[in-house]
């Protein structure tokens, strides 16, 4: 027991006041345990007989801890996280909205959380009905004809969609070679195109921040399989020329893919199926409120027009005899499976609960509030930050650090300073077409009071950038840990704990 002196008191108190927490391995101690199994009701296994080639005798370094220590470990660690439950989380393009507790409750009902994906269809009618209902709701929301829930996240939805396009074009005789992608698109779009075996051609944005029609006219030829369009785009702008865009793509035999990551701007207001989109994905973890979980899980359903339905992944849920549902796998035109089992089923449960809780009117109100909040922030910050595009925007707004950069203060610095004011930063330096971008998406989940606090903080930082730029450049100052050296971490990566060398 160390002697407590005035000098070492802060260090000793750090565990409790600051929740400083060593790694699991550093607090582990031989012989401690947090587990107890029920007694075996069958004979013990004879290891030598059953596994004659031998077993491992140890898992060197694996933790040994008691239950209470684990509770404290994960509780203390959790307090180092910022989360939606604490306040505005305005990460643009991520739609960090409220995650209702009801969704968590229904997802944990035994019959939904414990069912096995290979159960006979006769004893999983509830799960199949749930998926069918969600598919139908998403089809109505998007104005599309058929939906697969299988993709595990947005990026996998993109891959599914592009593979569907490829299969369709191949069936027409030529899969083509290229995908057009606007320069404002998310990085997953080009990465997806590459996996599907396509070359990527970048499409320029014009002075409005929208697809440059003249570029599209020039680039859209018979070698282009599809245009991957995010609408509203990553600047939060609705592609106003969508009619002409769809026409151009279709006239030259291509298909229109829509990245639906930004559907929170459109639900109940506009449907991609009504403006020429052939295939799209949704992010249930964005628009439909399934929790982001520190990086996942999500779900990326894909919706298609009826002519593409034959290409959807297997299995499909179809009507069986006697009113039941069954799984259909014999679909020769299908692109195949993109993920084992049904996909992230637990997210389907939550998304359906969200849709039911809001209902038709609530979903529209949600969209309206999301767009209202973003426009409110835009208007209130326009005097403090440069707005690169004057085009009206929907659910998010993108500023640049042009004014602050004159003092050497960049978007990354402003983001760090925002933490000192108690907020999670916006998305930094994306989209790439805006140098020094600040991409702000408040979602509908914020009250005016919370927006006003955020606006006040952003204005204060803009003033600080004028009067005390070094203060902003060195931020954060009030977080429990200061700016971490990410460059050094990447040069000499330490990616796991190792026991200290003896001696």
């Amino acid at each position: 027991m160390p002697e407590i002196t005035p000098e070492n008191t802060p260090a000793l108190a750090a565990t409790h006041i600051q929740s400083d927490e060593p790694l699991l391995f550093e607090i582990s101690s031989p012989g401690k345990r947090a587990w107890q199994l029920p007694p075996l009701d069958v004979p013990e296994a004879d290891l030598e007989l059953l596994l004659p080639a031998g077993t491992r005798d140890d898992i060197a370094g694996f933790p040994e801890l008691s239950e209470i220590e684990l509770v404290r470990h994960y509780t203390r660690l959790s307090t180092w996280n910022y989360a939606i439950d604490q306040g505005l989380y305005p990460l643009g393009s991520c739609t960090m909205k409220y995650n209702s507790r009801l969704n968590e409750v229904v997802a944990r009902l035994e019959g939904l959380a414990e069912g096995h994906p290979l159960q006979p269809a006769a004893v999983m009618q509830g799960a199949l009905r749930l998926m069918r209902r969600l598919e139908a709701a998403l089809a109505e929301i998007t104005g599309m004809d058929a939906v697969t829930l299988q993709p595990a996240a947005g990026a996998q939805g993109e891959l599914t969609g592009i593979l569907i396009i490829r299969a369709c074009l191949a069936a027409r005789g030529n899969p083509r070679a290229k995908i057009l992608i606007p320069d404002s698109a998310h990085g997953t779009n080009p990465a997806t195109a590459a996996i599907a075996g396509y070359r990527v051609e970048n499409l320029r944005s014009d002075a409005r921040g929208l697809v440059e029609l003249s570029s599209l006219e020039r680039l859209m030829d018979e070698s282009v399989a599809a245009l991957m369009l995010t609408n509203p785009n990553t600047l939060g702008l609705f592609e106003e020329d969508i009619h002409r865009i769809a026409e151009l793509v279709h006239a030259r035999g291509g298909l229109l893919y829509m990245d639906g990551a930004n559907m929170n701007a459109l639900v109940g207001r506009a449907r991609p199926g009504d403006f020429g989109v052939d295939v799209m994905h949704l992010n249930l973890h964005k628009t439909f409120s399934t929790p982001h979980g520190g990086g996942g899980p999500g779900a990326g359903p894909v919706a298609v027009k009826s002519f593409l339905e034959p290409f959807l992944p297997v299995p499909r849920i179809v009507e069986g005899e006697a009113g039941g549902l069954r799984l259909e796998t014999d679909r020769p035109a299908s692109i195949g499976r993109v993920r084992a089992f049904f996909g992230n089923f637990g997210m389907f449960v939550r998304a359906l609960a969200y849709i039911l809780a809001n209902g038709s009117d609530g979903l529209k109100q949600t969209t309206d509030d999301a767009v209202l909040n973003a426009n409110y922030i835009r208007q209130q910050l326009e005097d403090s930050y440069a707005l690169p595009y004057a085009t009206p925007s929907l659910h998010e707004c993108v500023f640049s650090d042009r004014l602050q950069a004159r003092q050497g203060v960049h978007t990354g610095d402003i983001a760090k300073r925002l933490m000192d004011y108690g907020f999670h930063p916006y998305t930094v330096s994306f989209p790439l077409i805006v140098p020094g971008a600040l991409m702000i998406e408040p979602t509908e989940s914020e009250s005016r009071e919370e927006l006003d606090r955020f606006i006040a903080a952003m204005r204060a930082i803009a003033r600080e950038a004028e009067t005390a730029p070094e203060l902003v450049q060195a931020a954060p100052h009030r977080t429990r840990i200061s700016r971490l050296d990410e460059a050094a971490a990447a040069r000499q990566p330490v990616l796991r704990w190792q026991p200290k060398a003896q001696g």
């Binding site: 199994l37 069958v42 080009p190 009206p392 050094a488």
Partner: protein, 458 residues
């Protein structure tokens, strides 16, 4: 509209701040023909009790509370209650990707611990967090092996999970090189001769092998690695049941491990969300897809953690990235971490032993009842049985007794028509196993007592 924090009064005030009269004006720049001019054809918003009732009815129609002998990549284990208690904190589940390390150290440190435990378990040097699931982890491992070797063909064991192979085929369908398969022998394990024959062409980037394989059979990692390496191919070790690592030798001879972490305390939940993981050697780290957390120092020299080596990822490299993955399965990886920490160094071995014991008891019960067991090689907790009567009959009987039987193998393996894959984890009671064996045995001829031991363990 209980999720929306605004009154109509405030909405009106905000609109007037913007100089607007009504909210429609915010959408006025959307071309007229794009706008939806009717309400969505969905029911009106419902209350909590109504929604609970609706989902309870759906949940009840799913064999809730039945004993289950299904495995095949989705395994029932006791889930320590600590998992739900801890991950239900909003600080964990309502955060996103830890892009801002100063206010995300909880997630970052927990991922660093996860990476470490996966390395300790698998004998690899680095692990990511995470891939979508085991199937996509295997597909990503295949793409990674192609990048590393510059070769393009892939060679998968037919005894790897059929759905994993289907996903692999989907991912590879527009990549040059193609996908070939090699079979299993009488014992249920790899047909080494066939594997070697396929390797001889010299075009193979990686051999993809699962252990315990889809039939529950334990494979020999070292022998497979020797064969693959002798022909310039990598070995991708596929592990669909992480609990097996409590007892089985780690795949340390492999080059890439593609693991499904579901067995570590992630609900079976109709197939997801789960968590895939890729682990590999340090020298291959720059080809590894997915998030990686590394140690870093802050300005005062304090230890912290950050997302690192992002130059592999789509947001930096776009079409040249190692993968398109962005959102992953972080919360499921956290569940797996808590599970590993609860069972720990000793407990995981004990848990694995219970699984082995239960499956062995089931195997003996089947053999004693005269049910043919295929594949005598060592197994973990799954076994393949071929009863004398149609599986559909057995299924109907067992479902009536609130038992979900094994999985019919015929749809995936024509040669195994009439056989079923049966998974027996620590959650199976002796009583349920006895009932299961009795149902499969009906119509079978009981063998002489002696013959049983031989058929089981040779």
């Amino acid at each position: 509209m209980r999720y929306l924090p605004k009154s109509d009064v405030i909405r009106r005030e905000m609109l007037s701040t913007l100089g607007l009269e009504n909210v429609d004006q915010l959408f006025a720049h959307i071309p007229e023909y794009c706008r939806l001019r009717r309400p969505l054809n969905l029911p009106a918003g419902r209350s909590e009790p109504e929604i609970l009732e609706d989902f309870r009815a759906l949940a009840e129609d799913n064999a809730a509370g039945y004993a289950s002998f299904l495995g095949a990549g989705a395994y029932h284990h006791f889930r320590p209650v600590l998992i739900e208690a801890l991950i239900s904190r909003g600080e964990w589940f309502t955060a996103y990707t830890p892009y801002q390390p100063e206010i995300s150290q909880g997630t970052l440190q927990s991922i660093f611990e996860f990476q470490t435990m996966i390395c300790q378990l698998t004998g690899m040097e680095v692990a990511n967090a995470s891939m979508y699931d085991g199937s996509t982890a295997m597909a990503e491992a295949a793409l990674m092996a192609r990048r590393l070797t510059g070769k393009s063909a892939l060679l998968a064991a037919r005894s790897t999970h059929p759905q994993y192979r289907e996903v692999l085929a989907t991912y590879l369908q527009h990549q040059p090189g193609g996908l070939r398969e090699f079979g299993y022998g009488e014992s249920g394990a790899v047909d080494a001769e066939q594997l070697e024959r396929e390797l001889r062409a010299g075009d193979v980037a990686a051999v993809l092998l699962q252990s315990p394989n889809f039939f529950g059979t334990v494979e020999d990692w070292e022998a497979a690695a020797r064969l693959a390496h002798a022909h310039g191919a990598l070995l991708v070790a596929v592990i669909a049941e992480p609990v097996s690592l409590g007892l089985l030798p780690p795949p340390a001879a492999a080059d890439i491990v593609a693991l499904e972490a579901q067995g570590f305390g992630i609900p079976v939940g109709f197939g997801g969300p789960y968590a895939g993981v890729l682990a590999t050697r340090q020298k291959y780290v720059r080809s590894l897809p997915g998030r990686l957390v590394g140690e870093a120092r802050d300005r005062q020299g304090r230890r912290g953690y950050v997302l690192t080596l992002a130059t592999r990822e789509q947001h930096i490299r776009r079409e040249k990235a190692t993968s398109n993955i962005c959102t992953n399965q972080a919360l499921c990886a956290l569940m797996a971490s808590i599970f590993m920490a609860v069972y720990g160094r000793e407990g995981l071995r004990e848990l694995a032993k219970q699984n082995l014991a239960k499956a062995d008891y089931a195997a003996r019960a089947f053999a004693a009842a005269g049910v043919e067991l295929l594949f005598p090689a060592p197994r973990f907790h799954e076994l393949v049985a071929r009863p004398r009567r149609p599986l559909a009959e057995i299924e109907a009987e067992l479902l009536a007794a609130r038992i979900v039987p094994g999985l019919p193998l015929g749809p995936w393996y024509g040669e195994l028509e009439g056989a079923a894959l049966i998974c027996v984890t620590e959650t199976a009671t002796r009583d349920a196993i006895d009932k299961l064996a009795a149902a499969y045995a009906a119509g079978a001829r009981r063998p002489a007592r002696q013959a049983k031991e031989v058929s089981l363990h040779t």
